[in-house]
Each structure stands twice: as C-alpha cells, then as structure tokens.
C-alpha cells in the first residue's frame, strides 16, 4: 500500500474520532477517499442500536465506522467496529442444505423449500396447526418478524410464534404493560444527557451496552453532582464509576426496591400531587387500594427488615432511596438482572413504582428505562407482535376486538384467527420434546445454546420424528447440528431492512453488498416457503422488505404505536426516528404519556400526563411482595451461579468468535470467583474448577477477583464449548414466561 493512501486512511480514522466528540469540522470534512461509497446502517449486536456507516470498496465491505448523525454520535464499541470479518467468515452458508443419512448436503432451493413445505403441510394435515411452530429472534429485521408472524398466525392459523426475546425481555414487556398499559419505554436516550441521578440495577451497562455507558460516564464527568447508584451482586466495570455500589444477596432485589419505597414515603419525599392524580394503587389481586394501604403493605419492608433479607445495611438502603428521590431527575436503567427472574415482571413493576411515587417520570432525565439485549427485539418482536400471545402493535390474541381488527386489516374473514395463544418458549421446546411439535422453523437465532437447562431441549431438538428448518448464516451455529434443512440467508447489510432499538427508534440498514453464493434475503425465503405451504398468496404479496414495511405501517397506524410518518424514504435520509410518529413532518417522540410531547395526546388535553394504555388514564403502583429465586443455595449446592455477557462477545458468540481480536481477548468461558471463597478452597487464577448444579457439571478455568461477592460465581455464556446453559435452570416467571437464567444453586470444587 502506498504511503499516501495509508495517510488517507489514517486521516479518516482520526476524523471519525474527531466527529465522535464533535471535533473541528474542517478536519472531519476532509475529503474521504478511502472507500467507493458509504452505506448507512445499524450495528448488528446489542439493543443500543448504534448507527454505523458501512464503507464499501470494490463491492466488498472494508470498514465500519460510527454514524455521526445517529444517537451514538459516531461512537462504536470494538465489537461494532469489527463487523467486517464476520461478513466474510469461512463458515458462511452459501447454498441450501438438506440432511441426508445424518449429514447436511447441498441441495437446490426448490428441493429445500419443497421438502420443508411438505413437512409443515403434512404435520398440519395430520395433527392440526398447533403441531407446527416458528422460533424467531430479536436479530431478525422488523419486516422479517412481522412477516413470519403473519404467515403463521394468519396463514396457518398457528399461534406458536415465539422467539429469543422471550428469554431476554418478556418481563420488561410485562412490567410496562401492567404498570402503564402499553409496552416500550416512556423515555429515550436523550434522558441520559439530562439525568442527575442514574439508578442502575441488574445491568452491567459498561460491558453489555458500552455506548450507553459512555453516555452515562460522559454525563457524570460533565457534572460532578450527577450521582450514579449501581445495584448488583457483582462489582462490575459499571460499578466502578458508581458513587455507591450496592451489593446484595442475589434474588433479594424485590425486597430492596420495596424498602426504597418505604424510605421515600417515610422521608416524605414522595410526590403526592403526582401520585394522587395520575396513579392507581393496586394489590396483587388487582384490587384498587389506597395510598394508606400501600404504606401498610410497605411496613414489611422497613430497611431494617430488608437488611436481614438482602444483606444490604439499612443505612445504605436509606441513602440510595433518598438520592433517588431527592435528585432533580432520576433515570433507572436495567436489563437481564431484573428480567431473567421468576418474578421479573414484579421487579419491573417495583422500579416503576419508585418513579410513579416520586414523579420522576415524563420530564427530561427522569424516567424508567429498560435496556434490550438484542438489536431488534423492541422494533422487531415486541412491536410487531412476534410472540405467541401477541398480534401486531400491542394487540393481544386473547382479545376478540384485537383479532377482529387484525382480520380486517389482513383481509381475513371475521373470527377466523385462532383465539388461543400458542406455546411460550420453554413450553414450546418442552412440547417439541414430547412429540407435540412436528415441524419447527427457526430464524436467525441459536436455541441449542441459548435456552436454559439446554440439555433437555437439545434432546427435544434431536428427536428423529420432528422436522427442523433453519434460516441461518453460519454453519458452526450450534443449532445447525439439529437442522434437517438449512436455508442460507443474506446477512446484515446484504439486504435492506429496519432495526428498532431500546429507545423506540427505527433505523434502516441499507444494502451495501450482494450476498454470497445462493444466499437470499429472508423476506423472499419466507414468502416462497409460505406459498409452497399453501398460504394464500394474497396474504404475502411482498417482493421485498420495503413492501412489508408499508403494510406494517398501515397495521400500526390505528394504534398508539403509530409510526405512519416513518416512511422508507425518511428512513433512507435520516439516521433513525422514534415512534410515535404519526405524520411525515413529525420529528418523532422523545417522551411518551406527556401532553405536548406525545402525539397520541390531544394538544388541548386537560391534564399534563395521560397514561392512555389504561382505561382511566392512570398508571399503577403495584403491591408486589418479595419473592426469592426458584432455586436458592442450600447445603448441597451452597453457591449461587449467575451468567451474563462479557464486553467483547455477543450472545452465543457465533459472530464475535469469528473476529480474531475479540476471540483472543476472551477465547473461552471461565468461572469468576470471589477472592475470599477462592482462598478458602485453595483456588488460584487459572485453576480448573468443577461447577455442578442439579442439571449438569462442567470444568472451567478460575478467575479470582473481587467482582463476585462471596457466595456467588459468574460464568459468561458465549462459549459453545463450555456451554453454561447446560447448568442453568429453566424455571420461569408465571407472568412473562421468561426463564430465570440469572440464579441457580451450584457447588464448586477444585479439580
């Protein structure tokens, strides 16, 4: 490479950094000669949804940089910046595959599609539409999930439509719906720049959502009065910027949250005007109660009582409750630590309780805000209704008026949709194991590694009498081992489509390059498959994802999810728009449920707040009692095992393990042990440690540190060779049906 060209590349690298911090424009605007053209997109990894610019040269992606016009303002984490090797991985599947004599062998598209269609048709004919299922993902495009859900629910009359988001944020959905009547956060990332207190609970933001953490760290640095409270049994990297890190006995956070409410009322820091006007108090049996009843309920949760349950000193609980309430704008952030629990919905409610009690809601910087794990779980699966109890845009299968509305929009006869919700994820894979599901289509996810207590469900997938078809990009994804047919899909920027991130922002991923070999965009695969399955072609008249997008806009238009104004043309021009967005000249919405901000509320509405998801327009403060984990430690299994991500890997590692830099920084899973526990057991860094739960056992190298509290061990779950989900428990929340990945009992031994 000649020196001049190299200099250009260096200048481009530097200018991208300058732009990220809003540096001098003269420099940033220096003529870019490194690539043939740039295509706007969204990062493929977490739910932060950072805008990216994909640099194409000679029809190949050569670079990825941050989009200065999206919310991430040009920043990317290392994962996001290193997408290129994944596109060109040698493990890419480039032709359809059919399993013959136990081996996947190349086939034509017709063979693979016809075989799959015939298996689905045969199952439906013999056993009815509930004998087939779809398992999708928050990694699929919005258009793909909407279409798959429509094909199964409207075309096949089958509601067994599930996906990875059930494992990831179903409890957040349950929390929002029960508290506010509608799913999705009321605030946005803008709140980070206005908050004066961050209450981070059950989220290792620093490693799992690095760019959001960057915004929080920058906010704190800009104003030393900004307080950061991190509540987590691990002293994570996130905890290291905290003013107060609260470690607690895993599984006792519901008690802590109730105790904070107790202190807020005791200290008269509640916002009486707000909650007397905009809030209903409700007990667990859904009876309306009074503020006085709530105070009585909270008497079981004095800081002194909760100190005994949680191990958090009463004084610390008082202190954080006061900071939460006294700050001028408090923003709560949480993710899997709250959601992946047998009472995840309640935990979500209890966070909202604190906001509704103090009025820290609907003002810049003051909001509850759940973070998402997958890039398009919100926009794709939650919004379009890609789960077994949902219809598009917040409608419910069990509600006849919602079904009738969808039947009209989809041109179906009245009362023709199946009124019975399908299996939720754990039930679906259990049914697969019992031989009740005969044919399963899996799109863009890896359940053979990501399900809890995964041995059980791998056995289910391995049954010889069921048929599993996969739409997948990588042949080394664990689930491929169980597939009878694999359809090769166009990856990420090889086709156009929409991702919707944690803050209700829809952004377009432009098509930058052609897919390799015989790969096709998933929308086309789904349409082709549906027609061959016998679905009425009038239900799937889509040539591409843009066609699907237009129908989805129409379907959402009569609801408060309204984003009629987010046209494809606008998405191509702008770097993401937040719904509700009813008209093409509407800029999008940063704060919901507030007059003057939320376009769903008439400008002359008589009150400032309107929680229109609820019949009387009031949100709910729930009386949710403390409930411990499904499997608490005991004398046989005295430790708590928790799992999670590390900064350089994402989900099952199928993508990030293909990037040499990322692979080398975390080549394999390990067990993180507190130094005191390690000393007691004579364990040193790198020693081999056997972890055993009631489900399975496995040996991990030890990492001794102060991150875990004593009695707790942590294992990251990206590693396919050390699959920690063989040890985790599949107990789930009775409301959200989300499994409790975060807590199970384990014993450990040096080997």
């Amino acid at each position: 490479m000649d020196i001049t060209r190299r200099e250009f590349l260096k200048y481009t690298a530097a200018s991208s950094a300058f732009m990220a911090i809003g540096g001098p424009l003269a420099f940033a605007a220096s003529k870019d000669q490194t690539v043939d053209h740039w295509v706007k997109g969204v990062c493929r990894f977490c739910g932060t949804g950072c805008g990216v610019m994909v640099g194409v040269k000679n029809k190949k992606v050569v670079t990825v940089k941050g989009d200065p016009n999206n919310h991430n303002a040009g920043f990317l984490c290392l994962k996001g910046a290193l997408m290129t090797p994944i596109i060109y991985a040698k493990e890419r599947i480039t032709e359809p595959l059919i399993r013959k004599n136990g081996k996947l062998v190349p086939a034509t598209w017709d063979e693979a599609l016809n075989l799959t269609a015939s298996k689905f048709k045969e199952a439906i004919k013999k056993y009815g539409p509930t004998s087939v299922a779809y398992y999708g993902s928050g990694q699929a495009l919005t258009e793909e999930t909407y279409l798959a859900s429509k094909i199964f629910k409207a075309g096949l009359k089958c509601n067994n439509v599930e996906g990875n988001p059930r494992l990831c944020m179903a409890s957040a959905v349950g929390g929002y719906v029960t508290t506010y009547g509608k799913d999705e956060p009321c605030g946005s990332y803008d709140d980070i720049n206005a908050a004066t207190c961050f209450f981070i609970i059950g989220s290792n933001t620093s490693e799992c959502h690095p760019i959001i953490f960057k915004k929080i760290a920058a906010r704190k640095q800009a104003d030393p009065n900004v307080k950061v409270i991190v509540v987590d049994p691990r002293k994570t990297n996130t905890a290291r910027i905290a003013d107060i890190h609260v470690s607690f006995k895993p599984g006792t956070d519901l008690a802590i949250l109730n105790a904070m409410a107790y202190v807020i009322i005791e200290e008269e820091l509640d916002n009486y005007r707000f909650h007397s006007k905009y809030v209903n108090f409700m007990d667990n049996q859904k009876n309306k109660r009074t503020f006085e009843d709530y105070k009585k309920f909270l008497e079981d949760y004095t800081p002194e009582k909760v100190e005994k349950i949680s191990g958090v000193p009463a004084e610390t609980i008082r202190k954080i409750a006061k900071i939460f309430a006294e700050s001028s704008a408090t923003m709560s952030l949480w993710t899997m630590g709250i959601n992946q629990r047998i009472r995840g919905v309640w935990a979500n409610n209890l966070i909202s309780n604190l906001h509704l009690l103090t009025g820290h809601i609907g003002k810049p910087g003051a909001t509850p805000f759940s973070l998402t794990g997958q890039p398009n779980a919100c926009g794709g699966v939650r919004d379009t209704g890609g789960l077994s109890h949902l219809l598009p845009a917040g409608r419910l299968i069990k509600k006849r008026e919602h079904r009738n509305e969808m039947e009209e929009l989809w041109g179906l006869p009245k009362d023709s949709l199946n009124p019975k919700p399908g299996y939720h994820t754990v039930a679906l894979f259990k049914a697969l194991g019992e031989g009740k599901i005969k044919a399963l289509l899996i799109l863009c996810t890896n359940p053979a590694q990501s399900l809890p207590n995964v041995n059980k469900y791998r056995k289910a997938m391995a049954r010889k009498d069921n048929f599993i078809a996969l739409i997948e990009c990588f042949r080394d994804a664990e689930t491929v081992k169980f597939a009878d047919v694999v359809f090769p899909a166009a990856f990420w920027c090889e086709r156009e489509g929409v991702y919707g991130c944690s803050e209700r922002r829809y952004s377009l991923i432009g098509k930058a390059i052609d897919p390799p070999g015989k790969c096709r965009p998933t929308v086309n695969i789904l349409v082709d498959l549906a027609v061959r399955m016998g679905v009425d072609p009038k239900l799937v008249p889509f040539k591409n994802s843009a066609d699907v997008w237009d129908e989805w806009r129409k379907v959402a238009r009569p609801t408060p999810y309204n984003f009629w104004g987010i046209t494809r043309e606008r998405l191509r021009k702008e770097s993401g728009i937040r719904w509700p967005c009813p008209t093409e000249d509407h800029p999008g919405t940063r704060i919901r449920y507030v007059r003057g901000e939320d376009p769903n509320i008439p400008k002359d509405y008589k009150h400032k707040y309107f929680f229109y998801g609820k019949p009387d327009g009031k949100a709910v403060i729930w009386f949710r009692p403390y409930k411990g984990p499904a499997e608490a430690p005991d004398k046989d299994y005295p430790f708590v095992l928790t799992t999670g991500r590390v900064i350089d890997h994402w989900h099952t590692g199928t993508m990030t393990m293909k990037v040499p830099e990322l692979r080398r920084s975390f080549p394999n899973a390990y067990v993180e042990i507190n130094e005191k526990d390690a000393k007691k057991m004579g364990i040193q860094n790198g020693d081999r440690v056997l972890l055993e739960t009631r489900r399975d056992k496995m040996v991990f190298p030890a990492r001794v540190s102060d991150v875990c509290r004593p009695g707790l061990v942590f294992v990251p779950w990206f590693d396919v060779n050390l699959m920690i989900n063989k040890l985790t428990k599949d107990a789930f929340d009775p409301g959200s049906k989300q499994p409790e990945f975060k807590i199970c009992a384990v014993r450990i031994k040096k080997v």
Binding site: M1, L9, K10, T12, A13, I21, V64, K214, A217
Partner: protein, 80 residues
C-alpha cells in the same frame, strides 16, 4: 496492517501524561485532545496485534476507557 481511530478517555489530572506516553509508542499517532479529556489517537498494527496494544493503553494510569470509532483492514484484505 489495520488502522483504527480511537478515543482515549482519561482523568483530568492524567491527560497530559497519557498523551505523552501515547506519543512515545511508534504505532500510535495522537491528533490532539478535547476539553472533556478525550485524546484522539490513530493506531496502526496488524489486526492480530491491535487488541494487545489497546490493552496496553487501557492499563496506563488514569485511562478510563477507549472507544473505537473506525477500523479498516483494507490493506490486509488486499494482501490475501
């Protein structure tokens, strides 16, 4: 060789010292600092070496975090 644009975020009191240390590393070029203690750096290294060098920066006193804004492996692809 891969080329990466980096932002190195430092504590106020360590900013100058970190910048000086970066300047002494042959594979790093600094392009100035911002008011909120970001140093703009371009790193050049074979991609398999890049993360080691970034790790080295992370360990310097006063470095809070490092953000990547740009990575190109264009010439590595050409070499194939």
């Amino acid at each position: 060789m891969a080329i990466a644009g980096l932002l190195v975020h430092t504590l106020k009191e360590n900013l100058q010292d970190v910048e000086r240390q970066l300047d002494s590393m042959p594979e790093m070029t600094t392009y100035g600092t911002s008011e909120d203690q970001y140093i703009i750096v371009v790193a050049e290294a074979p991609s398999e070496e890049m993360e080691k060098r970034v790790e080295k920066i992370k360990k310097l006193d006063g470095v809070l975090t490092i953000y990547t804004t740009f990575v190109t492996v264009e010439d590595e692809l050409e070499d194939e």
